[in-house]
């Protein structure tokens, strides 16, 4: 049986490195979590206690609901999800090629466009890191 | 130290079935008290050997004494087909009961180690041993439930192939579904017997718990009237729901059961609450009592003068309002 992604040290390291990079580029980043499709926390930045696990479960559910809604509309799978509030916004970005999702929370200083760009960059970095490890 | 052991020989086993049995023994191990192994799987025969030792106990494997070995091998059992884990597990558990010296439950296969004559329980008296009516059958089942002595029941319904029930362990085998028994006018005949030459092979067939048969006999024993085992003018409260997936039932009967599950009621009260005919309610109470799923509510014994009094059967028979969710669900299903 293969090791689940959330228990793989290499996967966790790949994700943690990308999250640190994201944090260095975006001072508005409040927290970020990389989660497996079935709701386990793989890596996190800026979360406390059980907050990461909780966010991982919710992110997994929301991503699955996004995929289900897209499927019902005969669209391709959900690329990203945005929850916008006056305090800031929560953004989820699928990591291509892996059953992983990046979930990041930015404060109100960030524009949606910029946080979406930063999250996409981070997701690509994770995918690239994972490929290098596999090679 | 010698240890009692047991072997079970199964004949007519092809290679595929041998593999299945080996695999099943692995899966069955956590549910068994002792270790069982296949010690022989020659052409067409599998012999399963129970050491009587705890599973995975290396020290208890060697010193064993075979019991009834020759007979087991000389007259092997038939493996139930298709090969089922649960059936094999039942057979092995029964054999374990014999190994540990526990009182033997009803034999699940052809032979068992003969108990000393003095240890054999004397059979309880059965007031009814045969007949041709549902009431007699119900009374026989009731006696069997309260005095679980070994015995077989052979029941024929409308001339079909017989249903066989083991009265002690409360299981039956029928080559048909009891849900196919429609209408109260079925012609039945039944007979209780101590044993039958084909008992072993019969009980290697897929068995079911006897509740559906008790339910059916209880429903039909005394239509619309209190059965002899049911006290009139008493409130009843459900203890357990019957397994409706296995017994023939109507939605009205379910409604009656649901009402009795919420509070203790007399037949009349349950009829009003479930909007059912009191006769139907009485039948359900008769059946539930026979299966042992209701209890009398001793604190709420009701005298006839306290009874709210029967309403007309027209009122009772009214179907639920179609505006209710249940009513629309019933209408959709065509109930």
């Amino acid at each position: 049986m293969t090791t689940p992604l959330h228990r793989s040290a290499q996967t966790r390291a790949c994700c943690a490195e990308a999250l640190a990079q994201l944090e260095s580029q975006c001072s508005s980043l409040k927290l970020a979590v990389v989660v497996s499709d079935d709701g386990f926390e793989v890596a996190s930045h800026g979360v406390f206690n059980q907050q990461g696990n909780r966010l991982a479960s919710m992110a997994s559910s929301m991503q699955a609901l996004g995929d289900a809604a897209a499927r019902e509309m005969k669209l391709t799978p959900c690329e990203y999800l945005l929850i916008d509030t006056t305090d800031g916004h929560l953004l989820q970005r699928r990591i291509h090629g892996y059953p992983l999702v990046l979930c990041a929370v930015f404060d109100h200083r960030e524009t949606v466009g910029r946080s979406l760009f930063a999250a996409s960059e981070c997701a690509q970095t994770i995918a690239k890191n994972m490929l290098q490890v596999a090679a | 130290m010698t240890r009692l052991s047991h072997t079970l020989g199964f004949a007519g086993v092809d290679q595929y079935q041998q593999i299945m049995v080996r695999s099943m023994l692995t899966h069955a191990a956590p549910y068994l008290k002792s270790e069982w192994q296949i010690i022989e799987s020659a052409d067409g025969q599998v012999v399963i050997f129970g050491t009587g030792a705890p599973p995975n106990n290396q020290h208890c494997r060697v010193p064993v004494q075979l019991v009834d070995d020759a007979n087991d091998r000389g007259d092997p059992l038939q493996l139930p087909t298709p090969v089922r884990l649960m059936r094999l597990l039942e057979v092995l558990k029964h054999a374990e009961g014999l190994l540990s010296g526990e009182p033997a439950s009803a034999p699940m296969f052809k032979r068992e180690v003969a108990a000393p004559a003095t240890a054999a329980p004397s059979p309880a008296p059965f007031a009814v041993t045969g007949g041709q009516d549902w009431l007699g059958l119900a009374q026989l089942l009731l006696t069997a439930r309260s005095n679980a002595t070994p015995g077989l029941l052979k029941l024929t319904i409308d001339g079909a192939a017989p249903l066989w029930a083991d009265l002690k362990t409360g299981v039956y085998y029928a080559p048909f579904s009891l849900s196919q028994i429609a209408g109260p006018t079925n012609v039945i005949s039944f007979e209780r017997m101590d044993d039958h030459p084909e008992r072993g092979s019969l009980f290697l067939a897929p068995l079911k718990k006897i509740e559906p048969l008790q339910w059916l006999a209880g429903l039909r024993g005394t239509p619309g009237r209190p059965a002899p085992w049911v006290k009139p003018d008493v409130r009843f409260r459900l203890k357990y729901w019957p397994n409706l997936a296995e017994l023939p039932h109507t939605v009205t009967q379910m409604s009656i059961i649901a009402r009795l599950s919420h509070s203790a009621m007399t037949v009349e009260e349950a009829a009003r609450a479930s909007k059912a005919d009191p006769a139907q309610v009485q039948n359900v109470v008769n059946a539930l009592t026979l299966v042992g799923l209701v209890q009398e509510d001793a604190t709420a014994r009701q005298t006839p003068s306290q009874s709210p009094g029967p309403k007309s059967s027209v009122t009772h028979a009214q179907p639920p309002a179609v505006s209710s969710l249940l009513g629309r669900w019933r209408r959709k299903l065509g109930f």
């Binding site: 049986m1 689940p4 992604l5 959330h6 497996s36 499709d37 079935d38 709701g39 386990f40 696990n53 909780r54 991982a56 479960s57 919710m58 997994s60 559910s61 929301m62 699955a64 609901l65 995929d67 289900a68 019902e72 059953p99 | 549910y31 089922r84 884990l85 649960m86 459900l238 203890k239 357990y240 729901w241 397994n243 409706l244 997936a245 296995e246 939605v251 379910m254 409604s255 649901a258 009402r259 599950s261 919420h262 509070s263 009260e269 009003r272 609450a273 479930s274 909007k275 709210p308 639920p320 209710s324 969710l325 249940l326 629309r328 669900w329 959709k332 299903l333």
Partner: protein, 185 residues
Amino acid sequence: MAEHVILIAGPMGAGKTTAIEALSEIPVVSTEAANTDRETADKPTTTVALDYGEITLDDTDKIRLYGVPGQRRFDFMWRIIEERALGLILLVNNDAKDPIGEATAFVEHFGDLVKRGGAVICVTRTDVVSEPSAADYVDAIRRTYPEIIIPVFAMDARDRDQMVIALTALLINIEAQSPLEQDVA
């Protein structure tokens, strides 16, 4: 259009998605993800948000079947659906490590729904492991809720007829919760 929500809950691997597929008249909306927790349930995928199915009653009404994930880490989904639900169908696989413990934990978690609406327990995989019995489940739940006698049926979640029996029993039980006086009047 009135909303009649039935919540379908139970531990991972009990057959919730299968039960909804058996009952639903529409293709089930599912939110399955690759299951990495194969120790808890050895199956390739698991529900992570909800399963949704429908049964049309008439021109105006539908019964909406919502299945929620079995893992406790998704209990926020449980609460979302529970608030809207009329009743609970609880599926428990009899071959679980502690099926009685699982059943009582779920019944306690959904205690408000069990009391205000109704509940039915469908025990699956009884063909694999026959014990505990239905009575064992009832007795265990009675220790927490002495006045509630929950219907417990041995069911095959794949069998539509059996699941219809479970749903019917639930709806009947919900109706039977109504005070006797109203019915008699």
